[in-house]
Subunit: 201 residues, 2 copies
Amino acid sequence: MRKVILASGNKGKLKELQEILNDLPFELIPQPKTVEYEVEETGTTFIENAIIKARHAAQLSGMPAIADDSGLVIDALNGEPGIKTARYAGFGCTPQDNMDLILAKLKPFDDKNQRKATFVCALVYMRSANDPLPVIAVGQWHGAITREKHGDAGFGYDPVFWDFNYKMTAAQMPKELKTQLSHRGKACRKLEKKLKKIWDK
Amino acid sequence: MRKVILASGNKGKLKELQEILNDLPFELIPQPKTVEYEVEETGTTFIENAIIKARHAAQLSGMPAIADDSGLVIDALNGEPGIKTARYAGFGCTPQDNMDLILAKLKPFDDKNQRKATFVCALVYMRSANDPLPVIAVGQWHGAITREKHGDAGFGYDPVFWDFNYKMTAAQMPKELKTQLSHRGKACRKLEKKLKKIWDK
């Protein structure tokens, strides 16, 4: 079976991708946790950073590579935290710090419609480091930022991300529901569909 | 009406985009032909290079920007000429030089199925230079490289790009048919659909 390297050391991501992509004829291998596999994310968009990570892993390993980049885009904050989602409150900050910062910045906005936000996940599959046309799948989850934290499941900004249809935050959802709605779930399923098409040809 | 800058000095592209996007509520303006608007395309993928051009134009102009990057991907040549499509035979080369080079490289491959090729167009719309989630539309045209040039319409590699359904090269097609089938036509129509969705919200 062909091997594909996952350009992430994150075990949670590996498991989620493996679960969703397990119908496809390849084995997903996490990249080694060595310094040489770290790469500076110099892009200003999710897609560029996912490509940068996939290319780097493909280059070093000689295998096809999958990478993701994801984050939160808040309309009222001009798209922030965007690609700085994980480090919005500064280097070494916690998810609590990040949530506190966006809650503070959104204080002037009362209505949920003024507090609209989108979770974004960009997934990239590169056949090789010089593949000019990577397969790209972007998943989005539209919602709003609450005024306080609710729920304790999930991670990151989940306790302040409100889903309009289910009237709860991402951190209040059962895991299955979150996978169905989430940006990462959607991106994974889109990628699966696109890869199937390629390999069925 | 909102103004959007087109990150290309190419009049043909401007006209084609204006024709297809003319239902949308914006005026497409070509970028000035000054040195400051030139930018180095440092990406290794079509999408990265389109983002680089759009970001640069948005940064300088303060307007939203549209950019494209396009080229030819040949399976048997490992994806070449890819992002080097316009300059495959070297700096200052002509379309004739480029076609001669790929015909020479593909000599060992007899069958059209071994000579499969895809024309690709990546179109990007950025709301601003720091937009983390540009709108992206990729159009593809699948075909094969002929053994000789046929036809004299179109430009670039059109005389050697064979369409399996219509059994002629891109350079033998009436303009309307080419716009319907072509990578650029498809990308434009996809972009139009995506932008409509955003602005109808």
